[in-house]
Structure formats: structure tokens, C-alpha cells
């Protein structure tokens, strides 16, 4: 599988939103243009992506430098609604796997039925011994895990892609 490359894109902005989906959806659309994603899916608008994480949680992906500003606007827009906005960009490590066969490397680590994963599906899963989330990105996959295990995750992915 030598045609699979593992790379670490620069820091990426990530914002966790908790609250009722319809409340979060309208605010996210207003601030970023992203439609409210369906269950287990993600939606994209320009440089933004909104990812469905759980029945009351979204993850908004944006430029790293922009995250604080976006979070502030989301908080303002949410006003008195029962919702929580938290920047989590630095809590995460991000990897990109490129190559048409990249899912084969991931299938060694994650119990995911890749051929049946929808184009715009985001999957929260387990990558060997750590939690991870993944979705299609360009010609490959974007994988997110916790920052503290970035070293382990990179070795895992490189080993699986070898």
C-alpha cells in the first residue's frame, strides 16, 4: 500500500457545540452558511464544515486562527438559548490519508464498513486503542484523535499504510 500517504495538515480550528439540534443548526447556518447536517453526516460551506457528533452535539471545523472569533459570534447568536460553545482546536490531532486505497489502511485499525460509508458521512470510531473520528476529505480521509496520543496515532497510521 505504498501509494498511501499520511500527512499532518497544519492546525485546524474546531468548535464543539452542544444543545438542541434545531437551535444549533440555525445559528451555525447563519454564522458559517453550513446547513444543519443530518444524523451521522456533515455539511460544507466554503472553508467551513459542520459535523454531526451526537444527538445534541455538532463539531464545527474552520481555520485555526478564526476559531475564537467564530466561537464568539456563535455564542452571541445563541443568546440566552441553552447551548454551549467551546473551542477544542488544540485538544485534537489531525491526519490526512491520501490515495485511492487509503481506506484499506484505515480498515486495519477501525471497525468501519468503508465501502458502505456515505460520501458525507462522519464516523466516530475506535482506531486501534484510541478514540477517533474520520470522514472523506479530498481524495482520501481526514482522521481526528486526541492530541496527547498524536505520536501513537501517527505511528499507527504510518504502520498501517506501509
Amino acid at each position: 500500500m505504498s501509494d498511501i500517504t499520511v500527512s499532518t495538515p497544519g492546525p485546524i480550528g474546531m468548535i464543539t457545540l452542544r444543545g438542541a439540534m434545531e437551535v444549533l443548526g440555525s445559528v451555525v447556518t447563519k454564522v458559517t452558511g453550513c446547513a444543519l447536517p443530518e444524523r451521522r453526516k456533515f455539511s460544507v460551506s466554503g472553508a467551513y464544515a459542520a459535523l454531526w457528533m451526537s444527538p445534541d452535539e455538532l463539531l464545527l471545523v474552520c481555520d485555526h486562527d478564526e476559531a475564537d472569533e467564530i466561537a464568539k459570534r456563535l455564542t452571541t447568536e445563541l443568546g440566552a438559548a441553552f447551548a454551549t460553545v467551546a473551542v477544542v482546536s488544540d485538544a485534537r490531532a489531525v491526519f490526512d490519508l491520501a490515495g485511492p486505497e487509503a481506506h484499506r489502511a484505515l480498515a486495519k485499525l477501525c471497525p468501519v464498513d468503508f465501502p458502505r460509508l456515505a460520501e458525507n458521512e462522519v464516523r466516530r470510531t475506535r482506531m486501534a486503542q484510541v478514540p477517533a473520528a474520520l470522514w472523506r476529505h479530498g481524495e482520501g480521509w481526514r482522521v481526528v484523535c486526541f492530541r496527547s496520543v498524536a505520536g501513537y496515532a501517527e505511528r499507527l497510521l504510518t504502520n498501517a499504510a506501509a
Binding site: T16, T84, S89, D90, A107, Q129, R147, A160
Partner: protein, 982 residues
């Protein structure tokens, strides 16, 4: 002597010779050979020694069920013990070694056990080695361990690569014989995503060996065509050398795949909608005296060697059977130019075309006859013939060098049974078959495993294809056969002497006499008899022996076979190596280690790291030739006198927010959190429902609806889950969100009298005692870094904990380290942290607590709200046990001579308890050398401790006399708290 036949061998390539070594001797085989067939071809009949009696053994089978021919393959980092020679494919330069023989395979001193066999009956170990007890450890065990055993475990690290893959399919077909191929083709035609796994290197199973005719073509051609058809389909995955090893709940199936290439073995973890077990059947041996001698093997296995590999086991083969199938072996042998002097058929009447055909070839068929015993001594030299109905009186002897036996067939029902599929006993076929009405059921209550082909109990090719197809089955000529006559011992009336030479379990050396003895001694349950005799407990898990063994048990107990039942079928079908089970998890992928943003700095600074959960944290930073103790002492003193810095990033940071957050935290902590003012911090305790202390930490109120709860390092994930548990399951209508921000922030503790100076040097915010008093926090910029500064102290010194986005943690750390140099800055590790907190009498979760300690035991009554109507643990703490006057409570301890108490030492009390053990009245929970005070300090829990100030207790020391220590206040340093509040 070569036993390779001049022609034949459908799986070997005679143009590709391969050299290998067996016990150091160079031998030759062909590509396509197994180690077993190559050894036979080289005239090497002797392949191993039995486990208990060290009897000489050769192959009895040709596949997964082989009990005897276990080899150690490879060497060094590529050594694998207990590999079945019948399944190991020959490779160039393969190193094969025999096992369980000393000093050598040919001359084995352990064989002496055989002559003493009457001294080693069932349960011998249990009976003999119980008394005298010391004899077991010093005399019997070392001897038995040397004499009995399989291949030794490899001692070198495994050099090979292993991996998992996660596969998904609608239909998983296990077994690539004709039944599996038909089932896969039918499922694929319906559009299902199909995986077909075959454990051997070839598709087609027995049909190809036995020359079946399907759809008017030889089986070989038919199989080739179907495999091609399947391979061309997008929705079908075909795999050979991949065993369906175990079926688990929810259609989870473990498949063990042998791979050639950089990866040696691949464990496929398959989630299947439906499992079709086309796993075939195993031929049963017959139990006659001497059935374990080299040269005696299963009739079907002999066909395999002749047809597939072009090797013979002997020139003259006597066939002994109770069913028609073994007659095929006669045909095969005669076609190969070998002799069959006689067929001994235990049945008295036989009338089927196959038998007539064999008779027409000139073979003498003796009906109603049995094999009285095999003539040896070390391998087959002939057989003694008797009546099956009699007691073994020898009627004639026939000279031969091979015996082919067939006791009937047992469907491979393992995969059906792993998840609870039930069996029924088919009297006519003398076999346990899967009961289609009682399959293993999935979440929908429906069966998720189906057995087809021989695995379902089909005996003829016509039955096999009919059972496997859900459409129109391929055309196969129906066959007329004479039913099997169940034969469990041969001859029927064999006496004790013959029974003691009839092997049931070849690998564990269990004989008919052993099972009968177990029954006689009261081990009537099949599971008890199994464990008492070790029948079926070897690495082959009784594939050949279980049915014969339980039939012998059933006869001895006069209980029908179905009532005796089978032992439990457990995965995996054949042993899986530990390397395959570990997958990628070895070396630096063995376990994920968690690293803080400053981890690399610690490593470069020469920190000695210690594990804290999955984290690695600096324990201390030794300079030059400093010992760890010296480094800790220096770090503690520097913090007390000047300035130190600790990486506190691992502390849990849970954001709790919402209109009900205050109410929620009031329930979780023992003290009030709802009345904390924004901008302020408060230390809090968390208890479980029973009142026991489970975590502690500082809570900061961020704004009206938001709190940030710090947990212990080990508590971050646990307390997050604990909060979610209460919110999701109990207080689901409370409006509270919890977000785990532990990894979002790096946290740096800047500690010591010079702490404010260094922060002011970075500048950007007001850090004066007025602007940021003790137990306050502020959000601002420090030296250009956006930070939250918490003025909290776990050391008793002036102290700030600075949280910064993790991505900037290292930069801030570097900056503080540089700017701190003029003020005597030192990094300090977890051990200095512990000493500093112990000097102040601060408790540590996990040291002062162990799941049995309530906060009141630790003198933390001040942190328990008396006003609140409820909090988690309040009711538990009302239990009378916690209010007993002699409860062990927290005190400080100092030795009279200034030395350090031992970790976990107990305070000795008068007398002994009911078990004759020394009474105790307390124990040490934390103990350190205090560099600040220049002597040992400790905390401990002592009965009525706080009321006994000044009392002297005696604490245990390992290997020494107890040590005296005085009860004192647990706060050893700055009891007024002046230093932290400046």
C-alpha cells in the same frame, strides 16, 4: 527410502523441488507439499512422541484434526511451536524440528513411561501427587515437566508483522468445498456481499480427492469453473488459507488468514449478516488395540496423501471400517498400484455398488470382522483379525505396513455451536448433527448460522449439493449406500488388556480404559470425565476423540449417547498464535502513551518519566550525576526558597455549563459550588453514592452559567463519564452541558516565593495580591499569550497555575523557563509535587484514599456542606460504621529518629485476630523524606488518631523490627498558610 509414487499428486508441482531440514537433516519435497506429505515422501514415518507415554507417533490425519505430527517451525525470532505438519506448506529452507522427544526422536528415554503405563491411569496426577505435598514441587513436577510437553515457547522477540482487518459482508461462507461454493454462488446471485473463506490452500474439499462428478464434469473441472465465476463477481471476496475460527454474538466472526509477504498473519474481524458453515466433516478413528502405531491412519487421510501429494504410507494396506466410505480408499490405492490385502468390515451385511466395485477389483472383504490388534512393535507390521462380535480371539494374522481406518464421520459443528446452536444425535448416521430448529440466534431472535454440506450431516455428494443450494442444485448421481454400524470399541467384547491399548485421544494419551475408569470412579458428566482424563483437552481439542470418548462413556454408564451429550465447543477452531491476536500492538504500538504539549522538553531535559495512567509524566529532572532522591530534594528546596515550574497539563478540565449547572455541581461536590462568585476558585470533594471520596480538585466559576472543574489526572475521563452518567440517566431534565477540555489546555504551575516576579516580568496583566488574591483567577494576556491564571496552591507556596491553549503550551513553558532563570527557576516533577503537598498535609486521591475512606476520615469536615439538603454520598456518610469512635482517621506521623517510615506500613496493636494474625490499629498512607524539615514525614490513618496526639505507635518494617513514630498534626509546614497567601 522414498514413498513418493511415480505418478499422481494433484497439488504438487514435480518441476519445483524444495529443500528443507527435519531435525537438521536435509530433505526434499515439492512445491505444494505439506511438511507431513514431504516427510512421508522421504520415508520419515516417525513424526513425534506422545505427550504422556512418549510413544512413537506418525500422522493419523491430513488436516486440522491432526493430533500427533506437531512440529516446531523456524528458529530465533521466527520460531513457532506446535504447528501441525499436515497444514504447514513446504517452503524453501524451512527448518522443521520434532518435539517432546529427549534425547532424540528415534531414541526417547521417556518411552519408559509406556512400560509403566499401568502406573499412569486416569487421574494419576490427582491421586498420586497430592501426598506427600513437598514431593510434588521438588520431585514429581520437574520430572513431569521435562518428560511431558509440547514444543517449547520461543524465547526471542517475534520478528514478523501481523495485522487486523475489519471486514463486513452480508453472507460469510466458511469452507470452500463444493457445498461452500454452491452456497456462495447462490448468495452472490441474489446480489449479497459475499465472503468465502477456505482454510486450506485449495478450493473443492473432498469432492476433488474422491473424484465426484458434478453437472456431468469431474469435480475438479466443476470447482475450477465455479471459482472462476465467483472471482469475476464484484460482490464476492474469495480467500484461501483463511480459517473461520470463531463465531461470536451479533455475527462477529474471527478469521485467521495466513499471508505470504511482509505480513505473516492477518486476523480478519468480520461482521457478517449471516454465516454459512460449510465446514465439512471429520472422519473418526476406530478404537482397536494399537491404533496409535505409526502406519495407522484415517482412510480419508490416506486418500489425501495418495491423490493430492502422490505419496504412500505403505505398500500393503489393510482397511478397517464400519461404513462404505473407506472403500474409496481401496479404489484409490489399487489405482495407484498399491496392494490392499483385506478390508475388515465390522458390519455383517453390506450391499452397495461401491463395495461390489471394490470386490470386483479383487479385494478380500471380510464381513463382521474386526481388528484384534495391530502388530508392531514400533510401526505397523501386520494385523491380527478377530470377530467384531467377540472378545478378540485371533483368527488370522495379515502382514501389512499400513492400516487405514474409518469409524464414520462427524460433522464439523464448531461454528454452529460457538454461539449456542444445538445438536441432535442421528442414530442412523451415528453422528451429532446441527438441529436446524435450534440455531444460534441473533438480536432479531432468528438464526444467524446455517450449516450446509457435510457439516449439516450430509453423507453423499447428492445430499451435500441439495443441502447447500437454495435454488436448483447441480446435478449429481444419487448413491446407494449401506448404513454405518456404530462401533465404539473393536472388538465389541474386548477385555481390559486390549482396552488399555485402544487410544481415544492420541495427543493427550487417553485410552478407552481411562474413560471407563473415570466413569467407574463417578465422573459421570461428560465435562467431568473430560477434565479427569484430559480427553479432548490437547491442542487439537479432541477433534478425533470427543465423539468416540463420549460413546465409550455412554456405554460404560448404560446411558444413551444423546443424554451424555458433548462437551462445549469453544473458539477458536484451531489455535491462533499470540502474534496474530496482538496484531499491530507490539513495540512502540503496544499501548498508546499520552504526552503533554511539553513532553519533548522534559525528555530533552533528561527527566526521569513515570507512568501516571497512560500518561508519562516527569518524576524528577536529575542534573549531572544526581540520584533521583537528590534531584527531588533539590527541586523541593528550590521551590520553597525560590521558584519552580510543574507541567500540570494532565489535570482534568471539565467545562460545566447551563442554567442548572450550579445545582448540578452542588449535588456532585460535598461543598457548595453554586454560591462561588465568578472570578473565584474553591477546592471541592466528590464522593460516590456510598459516601467514599473519589476525586478532588479546584473549581473555578467562569461566568453566571459556567464552571470549570479541575479533576485529578486519573479522574479526568472517569469524572467526565460520572457527570454524563448522572445527567443522562438520573437528571436527564437538568439543563447542563459537560465538555471535556482536558487536552485543549496546557497548564503550567509556577510556584515559589519568586512566582509573582517572573510572571510580572512577562507582563500584560495585574498580578498583585489585591488584583489576583489567593483562590482567585483571571483571564488576560501574559507576555502576549492569552491565558487563564488561577491563583491556587498545592504546595503551600505562592503559586499560579497558568492555562494556555495546548498549541502554545511549549512556547509559554520555554518563555517562563528563560525568564525565570534570574529567579532560580527549576522544573520539578511529580515526586517533588508529592513531597511539597505532604509537607502541607494535603491529601492525594489514591494515597490517602483507597475506595474505603470517607472525607470525614481525612479531617475534611470543613469541605462538607452542612446546609445542603443533599449531595452524592450524603446518605452513605450517615451510616453508623463511619461514626464509630475507633474509626481510622488521618494524622501526621514522625519517627522518633527522623528516619522515613515504610510505604504501607501497619501500626502494630496488641494481640492477634481470629486468624492468628497480628492486630493492627493504623497504616501509613504517604511517607517521604522532607528536604524542608530534614527528616521523614508521613501521613496515616490511625484508630482514634486525632485524639491521640503525641502517642507513640510501632510501625512494621519488612525484615526488621517495628519502628516507633509519634502521632502529630498532618500539617508539617507553615500551618498558618502564610506563605501561599502573600
Amino acid at each position: 527410502m522414498s514413498m513418493r509414487l511415480a505418478t499422481g499428486g494433484r497439488v504438487i508441482d514435480r518441476t519445483r523441488p524444495i529443500e528443507f531440514t527435519f531435525d537438521g537433516r536435509v530433505m526434499r519435497g515439492y512445491e505444494g507439499d505439506t511438511v507431513a506429505s514431504a516427510l512421508l515422501a522421504n520415508g520419515q514415518l516417525l513424526m513425534g512422541r506422545s505427550f504422556k507415554y512418549h510413544r512413537p507417533r506418525s500422522v493419523v490425519a491430513s488436516g486440522a484434526e491432526e493430533p500427533n505430527a506437531l512440529m516446531t517451525i523456524g528458529k530465533g525470532g521466527r520460531e513457532t511451536p506446535n504447528v501441525r505438519a499436515t497444514e504447514q506448506l513446504l517452503e524453501e529452507g524451512l527448518e522443521v524440528r520434532s518435539q517432546n522427544a529427549w534425547p532424540s526422536l528415534g531414541l526417547d528415554i521417556g518411552r519408559i513411561n509406556d512400560f509403566g503405563a499401568r502406573f499412569l491411569p486416569a487421574g494419576f496426577y490427582y491421586k498420586t501427587f497430592i501426598h506427600p505435598r513437598p514431593f510434588w514441587k521438588h520431585v514429581f513436577e520437574p520430572f513431569i515437566r521435562k518428560a511431558a510437553g509440547l514444543g517449547p515457547a520461543p524465547t526471542r522477540p517475534d520478528e514478523d508483522r501481523y495485522e487486523f482487518t475489519y471486514d463486513f459482508c452480508d453472507v460469510l461462507v466458511v469452507g470452500g468445498g463444493i457445498a461452500g461454493l454452491i452456497a456462495a454462488r447462490d448468495a452472490a446471485a441474489d446480489g449479497a456481499r459475499v465472503m468465502l473463506v477456505e482454510r486450506g490452500p485449495h478450493f473443492g474439499g473432498r469432492a476433488v480427492i474422491d473424484g465426484d462428478v458434478i453437472d456431468g464434469q469431474p469435480a475438479e473441472d466443476w470447482v475450477k469453473a465455479v471459482v472462476q465465476e465467483l472471482a469475476a463477481m464484484e460482490n464476492v471476496t474469495l480467500l484461501t488459507r483463511c480459517e473461520g475460527s470463531g463465531v461470536y454474538d451479533h455475527g462477529y466472526v474471527l478469521c485467521d488468514e495466513a499471508v505470504s509477504g511482509p505480513v505473516r498473519q492477518r486476523l480478519r474481524r468480520v461482521r457478517a449478516g449471516h454465516v454459512i458453515a460449510a465446514t465439512g466433516a471429520l472422519e473418526r478413528p476406530l478404537s482397536f488395540a494399537g491404533n496409535d502405531l505409526p502406519g495407522v491412519l484415517l482412510a480419508s487421510a490416506l486418500r489425501d496423501y495418495v491423490v493430492a501429494h502422490g505419496v504412500s504410507v505403505g505398500d500393503r494396506t489393510v482397511i478397517v471400517t464400519n461404513n462404505d466410505d473407506a472403500y474409496r480408499t481401496a479404489k484409490v490405492l489399487i489405482e495407484a498400484g498399491l496392494r490392499v490385502p483385506a478390508i475388515l468390515d465390522a458390519r455383517t451385511e453390506v450391499d452397495s455398488p461401491l463395495v461390489s466395485e471394490v470386490k470386483a477389483l479383487g479385494v478380500d472383504v471380510h464381513l463382521g470382522r474386526a481388528l484384534a490388534k495391530v502388530l508392531g512393535p514400533s510401526h505397523v507390521s501386520g494385523v491380527a483379525v478377530c470377530l467384531q462380535a467377540g472378545e478378540g480371539a485371533v483368527m488370522q494374522e495379515i502382514s501389512c505396513d499400513c492400516v487405514a481406518m474409518s469409524g464414520g464421520w462427524s460433522p464439523v459443528v464448531h461454528l454452529w455451536s460457538h454461539c449456542g446452536g444445538k445438536l441432535f444425535w442421528d442414530e442412523e448416521r451415528a453422528m451429532f448433527r446441527p438441529d436446524p430448529n435450534r440455531p444460534p440466534t441473533g438480536a432479531d431472535g432468528k438464526g444467524f448460522v446455517t450449516c450446509v454440506g457435510a457439516a449439516s450431516g450430509a453423507l453423499t455428494t447428492a445430499e451435500v449439493v441439495a443441502s447447500a443450494s437454495n435454488g436448483t442444485p447441480p446435478e449429481v448421481e444419487p448413491e446407494t449406500t449401506t448404513p454405518i454400524a456404530p462401533v465404539w470399541i473393536m472388538p465389541h467384547g474386548a477385555g481390559a488388556k486390549l482396552r488399555a491399548k485402544m487410544w481415544l485421544d492420541f495427543q493427550n494419551d487417553v485410552k478407552v480404559s481411562d474413560v471407563r475408569l473415570a466413569a467407574q470412579e463417578g465422573f459421570e458428566s461428560v465435562e467431568h470425565a473430560k477434565r479427569y482424563t484430559t480427553l479432548g483437552m490437547a491442542t487439537d481439542q479432541g477433534k478425533l476423540s470427543n465423539i468416540n470418548g463420549l460413546a465409550v462413556l455412554s456405554e460404560r454408564l448404560d446411558t444413551p449417547i444423546p443424554q451424555v451429550g458433548t462437551t462445549t465447543f469453544r473458539p477458536p477452531y484451531t489455535p491462533i498464535t499470540l502474534g496474530a491476536l496482538a496484531g499491530e500492538a507490539k513495540g512502540d504500538l503496544f499501548q498508546p502513551l499520552r504526552q503533554t504539549p511539553m513532553h519533548d522538553w522534559h525528555v530533552e531535559a533528561g527527566a526521569y518519566m513515570e507512568p501516571v495512567g497512560h500518561w508519562r509524566r516527569p518524576y524528577c529532572y536529575p542534573k549531572g550525576r544526581e540520584s533521583h532522591a537528590q534531584a527531588v530534594e533539590r527541586e523541593v528546596k528550590t521551590v520553597r526558597e525560590a521558584l519552580g515550574m510543574l507541567d500540570a497539563s494532565t489535570l482534568g478540565k471539565l467545562l460545566v455549563r447551563g442554567p442548572d449547572a450550579g445545582r448540578f455541581l452542588d449535588m456532585l461536590y460535598t461543598n457548595m459550588m453554586s454560591n462561588l462568585k465568578p472570578g473565584r476558585c474553591r477546592y471541592g470533594l466528590m464522593c460516590d453514592e456510598n459516601g467514599f471520596l473519589i476525586d478532588d480538585g479546584v473549581v473555578a466559576r467562569i461566568d453566571e452559567q459556567t464552571w470549570l472543574c479541575h479533576t485529578t489526572t486519573g479522574g479526568a475521563d472517569r469524572i467526565h463519564a460520572w457527570m454524563e452518567d448522572w445527567l443522562q440517566c438520573e437528571w436527564w431534565d437538568w439543563k447542563v452541558h459537560v465538555v471535556n477540555l482536558t487536552e485543549q489546555f496546557a497548564q503550567i504551575a509556577v510556584v515559589g516565593p519568586n512566582a509573582r516576579k517572573v510572571l510580572e516580568k512577562l507582563g500584560g496583566m495585574d498580578l498583585s495580591a489585591e488584583a489576583l488574591p489567593f483562590m482567585a483567577w483571571a483571564e488576560d494576556e501574559l507576555g502576549g499569550f492569552p491565558v487563564r491564571v488561577f491563583r491556587i496552591s498545592f504546595s503551600g507556596e505562592l503559586s499560579y497555575e497558568i492555562a494556555v491553549a495546548a498549541g502554545q503550551g511549549r512556547a509559554l513553558w520555554d518563555r517562563l523557563m528563560a525568564e525565570g532563570q534570574p529567579f532560580g527557576m527549576t522544573p520539578y516533577g511529580t515526586e517533588a509535587l508529592h513531597v511539597l503537598r505532604a509537607e502541607k498535609g494535603f491529601i492525594m486521591i489514591g494515597d490517602e484514599t483507597d475506595g474505603t475512606v470517607v472525607p470525614q476520615d481525612l479531617g475534611l469536615d470543613w469541605a462538607i456542606s452542612k446546609k445542603k439538603t443533599d449531595y452524592l454520598g450524603k446518605r452513605g456518610q450517615m451510616r453508623p460504621e463511619f461514626h464509630k469512635p475507633d474509626r481510622w482517621k488521618l494524622v501526621g506521623l514522625e519517627t522518633l529518629d527522623g528516619s522515613v517510615l515504610e510505604e504501607g506500613a501497619y501500626a502494630v496493636a496488641r494481640g492477634t485476630n481470629a486468624n492468628g494474625q497480628q492486630n493492627v490499629e493504623g497504616r501509613v498512607t504517604s511517607t517521604y523524606y522532607s528536604p524542608t524539615l530534614g527528616r521523614g514525614i508521613a501521613m496515616g490513618l490511625v484508630a482514634r488518631g486525632p485524639q491521640r496526639m503525641g502517642d507513640i505507635l510501632r510501625f512494621t518494617r519488612i525484615g526488621k523490627e517495628p519502628q516507633e513514630a509519634r502521632i502529630v498534626s498532618p500539617v508539617f509546614y507553615d500551618p498558618e498558610g502564610e506563605k501561599q497567601n502573600v
